[in-house]
């Protein structure tokens, strides 16, 4: 069992969990993820390790409540435990001093970009970060991102915080300055990562994205996370999750990620009806 040491709400529907997992905490590098099965009847879902504390033997995960599994995780708190946590998985982000890099996090993708930005900053890079959210109260990890960035830009869809617009617009501004950029790292919803890739393709700036395909075992066994990169078939769990954004077939991946939409909404409905029954029983 992997005991939750603390849980705090970062934004509506987005919570941070500090979980006991000493072996993983000791090994984890930026870009790694874990597979979590919250309960005995639960699914195995991949989550990026935001940060870790080898001394305390803990890892930090950030979870947005979207489907049944993530909503159930949100109902767990300090002292509860996840049934299974396994990792660290995936190839770590290759980190060196490249020069000037841009790190982009969209929505809860900011939780994924943070360890990468920190790793790049620790390696001596000049880090320009862009984090985007729907509105001001959905902006997460602002302080943490600020601490590892030389410059932090914030965008919101409605303009309630920072620049009004999408992260791609902020990126355009950074690119227009004419300073040389040695690498762009983007994590967030697939359409956002695709848009960033399209934007940087012409200039040929090295662009890496961390993919979030459907995944089950995380060890290269199920093949669900397969993605076409250039001419080859890659498994995001063992070959990735980071890939050259310009080589990824995003359209294929977007379709594959929609595979279980119907089942997911069915599961969510059953969770809701189950909970309304519980509420009635409680009365």
């Amino acid at each position: 069992m992997y005991v939750i040491q603390s849980r705090s709400l970062l934004a509506p529907g987005i919570a941070e969990f500090v979980v006991e997992a000493p072996l993983i905490a000791k090994k984890r590098k930026p870009g790694n993820f874990v597979i979590v099965r919250p309960t005995k009847t639960g699914e195995r879902i991949p989550l990026t390790i935001v940060t870790s504390d080898a001394g305390q033997g803990t890892i930090t995960l950030i979870v947005q409540a979207i489907g049944k599994t993530t909503r159930m995780m949100h109902q767990m708190g300090e002292g509860d435990a996840f049934e299974d946590v396994v990792g660290p998985l995936g190839e770590p982000t290759p980190v060196a001093n490249y020069g000037r890099v841009v790190c982009i996090g969209g929505g809860v993708g900011t939780a994924v970009i943070y360890p990468m930005a920190k790793g790049l900053k620790d390696a001596g890079n000049e880090v320009i970060s862009i984090i985007g959210a729907q509105k001001s109260d959905m902006v997460i990890l602002e302080k943490e991102m600020g601490a590892v960035s030389d410059e932090l830009l914030i965008t919101t869809d409605d303009g309630s915080r920072g620049m009004k617009g999408f992260v791609t617009q902020a990126l355009a501004g950074v690119m227009e300055r004419g300073d040389q950029i040695h690498g762009i790292y983007a994590t967030g919803p697939l359409p956002m990562m695709k848009a960033v890739a399209d934007q940087t393709r012409a200039s040929g700036t090295r662009t890496l994205v961390s993919l979030n395909p459907i995944m089950m075992d995380g060890t290269g066994m199920c093949g669900a996370c397969r993605v076409t990169v250039g001419d080859s078939l890659k498994f995001a769990c063992v070959d990735g999750p980071e890939f050259d954004a310009h080589a990824i077939n995003f359209d294929e991946l977007i379709t594959r990620n929609r595979a279980y939409m119907k089942q997911e909404s069915e599961a969510l409905k059953s969770l809701e009806s189950d909970q309304s029954c519980k509420a009635v029983r409680a009365l």
Partner: protein
Amino acid sequence: MSKKKEAREKFKKIMPMKPRERMQIPRHLPLEQKPECRIENFAEVSNGFNVELAAEEALRCLECNDPVCMQGCPVNVDIRSFIGMVYQKDYQGAINKIRESNYLPAICGRVCPQESLCESVCLVGKKNEPLAIGKLERFVADYELKNGGFTPPQKAEAKGQSVAVVGSGPGGLTVSAELARMGYDVTIFEALHEAGGVLKFGIPEFRLPKHIVDAEIDRVKALGVKIETNVIIGRTLTIDELFDEMGFEAVYLGTGAGSPRFLNIPGENLSDVYSASELLTRVNLMKAYKFPEYDTPLKLGRRVAVIGGGDVAMDAVRTSKRFHPEKTILLYRRSREEMPARAEEVHHAEEEGIEFHYLTNPVRIHGNEDGSVRAIECQKMELGEPDEQGRRRPVPVKDSNFMMEVDTVIVAIGQSPNPIIQQTTPGLETSKWGTIIVDEHGATSRKGVFAGGDISRGGATVIQAVADGKLASRSIDSYLASVREERSTKA
């Protein structure tokens, strides 16, 4: 008189019939769930023998002086002796006898391809149907599970050395049981959240119930073997750390071949194309057949096509059938004769109403605008000259392409070794197929590291993994003995 001879004399005395008469008894068939019932559930298809059927089947054994069945068994189970004990109703004796050679009898009695191993050489089979050795093995294993009576076999004195076993499939469990009996301290590391490996995620409940696998795992644990789940060797801990930081003196790699192969045809990444591994793991390990009680979903369409001809393809197609599509189709590019799947499973699949299309090779999967599967384009094949393995090679028939309307495609054409350990262990030699290279003793190029089963063979059977585990346990024992000796000379 030796004990063995004594037992044989006793057996002869109680035998009511002459060998010639016994040869005439037809092979007993265990009761099975009817096809129309079993496609409605995931319960085991075969009910196995009861006491009466087992005794009558055991009567068919000729007690050959030179039991060829034993040589047909990759782990040389003393088949003649255990069957004699079944006839004498000494079921505990029979299971103990099997366990001397094979620690996983309830599993092997169910999933071994007996028809091409022990039963294929059984002398009764020369004139009549061979003895149902597998079903008898299963019977005694189940009898013990139902009636208790298990006491762990005696262990040798503790040797004070510990061994790490990577993977808890049939090979890992076997090597662990053998080493524990020799007095070693054994810890199994398993990447998934449950022990059992392919026995849990790969083989369906209707062929090998999970509680049977768990019961055999408990027998291994009873020998003092520890199992750590959720530990991925190569990621959570490396091989070097097992030696240097954790004090293990030998490592066995039984990580299997879990990485699915694909056909590399257009349309293979449409959203309704699965690997058999994904389908089977969702259903077997994650219990997608109990969705939404269990959270892992499975999405199968109205017409499901499975591509392949091995046991995994049979498991995938029969699993799909239990989700009630209108059509469940199997596509295989050779003919029924060349199909590598077990005869019993092919027969079961046919009974369950699977549509078999032989000499049919998929060349392209066609999708709808939304990225879902619409149809599979195939070409007809004919058989040409035999290949290196002696199987006749399928050759496309010119201008024979045709379309088959399907909305789910499952690719079951084989697995490659999982690459994580090879990628993270310096000095471990691998082949161009990614398998770990071992010598005739199961030793790898790294000192103290041994391997076996699918990770070194690339794709074999449960019993082969068991055989490799046994071989490696002897090699590890002699390796660790030399380590002990070296240590004592130094001291």
